[in-house]
């Protein structure tokens, strides 16, 4: 069974903390111990695990990505969102987190983030729980 939930993003680029939503679905799904695979079904978003404390980190990550993947470039794709596709490929569309005692096991400072690169939009996140 694939668990799905929706996320509203703000601004052209955004990092939305989805750790609580994932943790809630892990408990609802009855997974005591195993892994939770997280999947991003959109081509102009990514999934990342990073700092959950200082919001300046999210803003710095998006500024640095804007620098590394420039907007003013002879892109061919006519929709004008090629930088978002590039960032999606670099950041990645799937990740795996561990579950123990029905709880998401993350490092002290970590959260799971939906990374928006062509917002604002309503996005979906998919989860699959595997016992182990």
């Amino acid at each position: 069974m694939i668990h799905k939930f929706k996320v509203r993003t703000s601004g052209k680029t955004d990092m939305v903390n989805i750790t609580k939503e994932i943790g809630a679905l892990v408990r609802e799904g009855g997974l005591a111990s195993g892994v939770c695979h997280v999947f991003m079904p959109h081509t102009t978003c990514g999934l990342a695990i990073n700092e959950n404390a200082d919001p300046d980190v999210k803003s710095d990550i998006n500024s640095a990505l804007d620098y590394s993947v420039p907007k003013d470039f002879p892109y061919k794709h006519r929709e004008g969102n090629s930088p978002a596709h590039v960032k999606s490929v670099l950041v990645g569309s799937s990740l795996t987190v561990f579950v123990e005692d029905s709880t998401l096991e993350l490092g002290t400072w970590q959260g799971v983030f939906l990374c928006e690169y062509d917002g604002p939009r309503i996005r979906e996140v998919w989860l699959r729980l595997i016992k182990g």
Copy 2:
């Protein structure tokens, strides 16, 4: 059991859509529901999930990566393919897609791509199916 298939790439950089090959091996492997782990056993290639519609997106992704990871750089590795190793690390060598009703579950516009950074060559892709 590890399922393997070969892919022929074109040009120095390429993105080859391998969605059909993966879907066929998922059905042959008899996986009704679970996850399909995809692994890239080469160090100058990557694996990505991105747009399956306009081929200009693939070309834009490769152009932007050429910009971000320059060719003219004082690299030490004498084989001359250091940019390919860098891109491989950035794009990644493993990803996970979901399977339901023996079918690969992807977003509307998504395909799975072998990303070639030091071609043209014959490459291998490895799959492992996990029930769940």
Copy 3:
């Protein structure tokens, strides 16, 4: 059960080969066939699979990342390690390798690396084994 081990990194940036440690824990964990999920619980490190032969490749990867993710940038995060957070997001915090006959299945030239971007430090790596 989550398997954990510690790694000592050298220098501000580093790539430490952790293939042997992972292989040993796979055997100790008694996994004959399946997958080994590797997780990085720190927000200024990454996990990558790349060349295990010429050490110049590791040095080239870190030089190119220093070029793509500049140090001199108007970052807001006051700890001064924003480039490390950016690299962590780009390289990624989770990956999956295959196990067959109690052995890690990698390509000929591949190793698994802990990628340090804010060292030197003692880091942890987490593993979870799934039969399949």
